[in-house]
């Protein structure tokens, strides 16, 4: 299919889906406002702390060409969501 054909399909697809997507978004917005399921204590924002002896090691791994605009599995903005490997030990 030509590039203009791809464009036409993309535009038509967007128009077909915009109604159902808007409906789903409204339902989710009502759930979020009424139930507040995601509300929680935020120690990362509310607890005083003092960080010391920070050691930073950044090692270049390589150059790549990828199709995602962000790193896959990005989690630096969600500190309360546990990383794939997570461990707490006590002395």
């Amino acid at each position: 299919m030509s590039d203009s054909g791809n464009n036409t399909v993309a535009i038509a697809g967007f128009l077909f889906l915009s109604g159902p997507i808007a409906g789903a978004a409204v339902y989710r917005a009502i759930q979020a406002k009424y139930r507040n399921r995601g509300a929680r204590y935020m120690p990362e924002r509310d607890v005083a702390r003092e960080v010391a002896d920070m050691v930073v090691k950044d090692e270049f791994v390589g150059r790549h060409t990828v199709s995602n605009s962000m790193i896959t599995g990005r989690n630096d903005h969600s500190p309360a969501v546990r990383a794939p490997f997570s461990k707490v030990t006590k002395t």
């Binding site: 339902y27 009502i30 509300a39 509310d46 005083a48 010391a52 002896d53 930073v56 090691k57 490997f85």
Partner: protein, 451 residues
């Protein structure tokens, strides 16, 4: 694949560098109190500018638990005015003071933070330190007998529900102020400063904003007057932790257009390692099994969790006069060994947030693949924290779900869960979907036909 060390994204020449001590202070607005006091953590000097080797961070060290003695309370039995000795003592949330009903004398209990030095020496904590009333609960039952010094009779208090009772004979108030083995009496208490009227106004406003899709049964029985003032059991936890984070970060070099519709990204990828120490001042953890699980399917416990933080620097030595006639309390039923996994989870969260300032140049983001904290020292204090609580039990497919609307008894911060009329919400959502589709689908068909 070859591996080379290059300048990190910040432009500094290193494979590794040590950064100076960073201090994080929470937003003071989050900790608004009538008697605003400093919440600054104690100064922590780094032990060395070079920092620990990553491998050294997870070495075990043996150390036993220690008791940080809580100052003596006011004694059990009749509550008396500290000036005239009368037993008509009440707590006024508006002034945050005790008041003698006889001589009108007003006073406050001593602050626990200063008395027990709870903000000091966090970076030097080793092993587990606990306050007197935070020790493990002994199963001694809920009933405690108090001797009335007014008339000599014995009065039984059920500590599951109350820490105060009136002598049946002489009507003196009798209170339990000192530690009992069943965990009912904490080290400290944060008295209510938000009045019932303020809490009712907050709850009304919260529900008013959500009346359009609220379940009809909820709206018909809603009465803000039914809000209850409850002291809920918590632990405040200080932590001296070593943290290690491993991950991958990416930096964009160039966008490349492939054809007309596709974009590809040329990136540089880095392996990231962060090791550091964090002195954490006053994480708050629920010490009630009933409330600690914030992902419960039958109770919206996350709502109570979400009205944190409390200004725990203003904790007072426990005195059951704070409960009076208008507040109730819940008994602690978790030991430190059962609460520490929740504290550990918060420490991991804080560790991750603490590394945020070192990854700002990774414009495509960072994927943390491993996070570890080693708790070298922790300090636990048991406390009752004030919550105005409105509850509603929803029957849903044979399951009872408890919805809470909670008001922080110190800051007035309000959060809630209102049961939804799902039929109405679905109808509106479908209406939006169909209404928009009526406009967009003919356009889509026209685009396809025109191509």
């Amino acid at each position: 694949m070859s591996t080379e060390s290059v300048d990190p994204p910040g432009g500094e020449s290193l494979p590794a560098r040590a950064e100076p001590t960073q201090v994080f202070q929470p937003d003071p607005a989050q900790l608004r109190t009538p008697q605003a006091e400093s919440v600054a953590p104690p100064g922590v000097e780094p032990e060395s500018t070079a920092g620990p080797d990553a491998a050294d961070l997870l070495l075990p060290v043996d150390d036993g638990p220690r008791i940080n003695a809580t100052p003596d309370g006011g004694g059990d039995g009749v509550n008396r005015c500290t000036r005239c000795g009368a037993s008509e003592v009440t707590y006024d949330p508006k002034t945050a003071m005790f008041r003698c009903g006889f001589c009108r004398y007003e006073w406050q209990e001593e602050g626990l933070d200063a008395a027990m030095k709870l903000s000091e020496g966090i970076s030097g904590l080793k092993g587990t330190t606990m306050s007197t009333a935070a020790v493990d609960i002994e199963d001694d039952g809920a009933l405690v007998t108090l001797h009335c010094s007014g008339c000599g009779s014995d009065v039984v208090i059920d500590t599951t529900h109350n820490l105060q009772a009136r002598c049946h004979w002489c009507k003196h108030h009798l209170s339990l102020n000192n530690r009992v083995p069943n965990g009912a009496v904490p080290d400290g208490i944060l008295p209510f400063t938000v009045t019932k009227e303020q809490a009712m106004a907050n709850i009304r406003a919260f529900v008013e904003e959500r009346k359009s899709f609220a379940k009809a049964e909820f709206s018909s029985v809603f009465a803000a007057e039914n809000v209850m003032g409850v002291y809920l059991p918590h632990m405040t936890v200080d932590g001296n932790v070593a943290a290690r984070l491993d991950g991958v970060g990416e930096i964009l070099e160039a966008r490349v257009r492939v054809g007309d519709n596709q974009t590809q990204y040329r990136i540089r990828r880095f392996s990231l390692l962060r090791t550091f120490r964090v002195a954490i001042d006053d994480v708050v953890v629920s010490s009630s099994f009933d409330k600690v699980n914030i992902r419960s399917e039958i109770s919206t416990n996350n709502i109570i969790n979400a009205i944190l933080p409390f200004d725990v620097k203003n904790l007072k030595r426990f005195n059951s006069n704070y409960l009076g006639d208008q507040f109730t309390s819940e008994r602690r039923d978790m030991d430190i060994s059962e609460a520490e996994s929740y504290a550990g989870d918060h420490f991991l969260t804080i560790a991750r947030a603490s590394a945020a300032s070192t990854i700002g140049s990774y414009d495509r983001g960072v994927r943390w693949e491993a996070e570890q904290v080693q708790i070298e020292g922790s300090r636990w204090t048991s406390a009752l924290l004030p919550v105005w609580l409105y509850g509603y039990v929803e029957q849903k497919k044979g399951v009872e779900i408890t919805h809470y609307i909670a008001v922080n008894g110190r800051s007035g911060s309000t959060m809630g869960s209102v049961p939804i009329n799902t039929g109405k919400a679905a109808l509106v959502s479908w209406s939006v979907a169909i209404g928009l589709s009526i406009v967009t689908w003919p356009m889509a068909i026209a685009v396809l036909l025109a191509s």
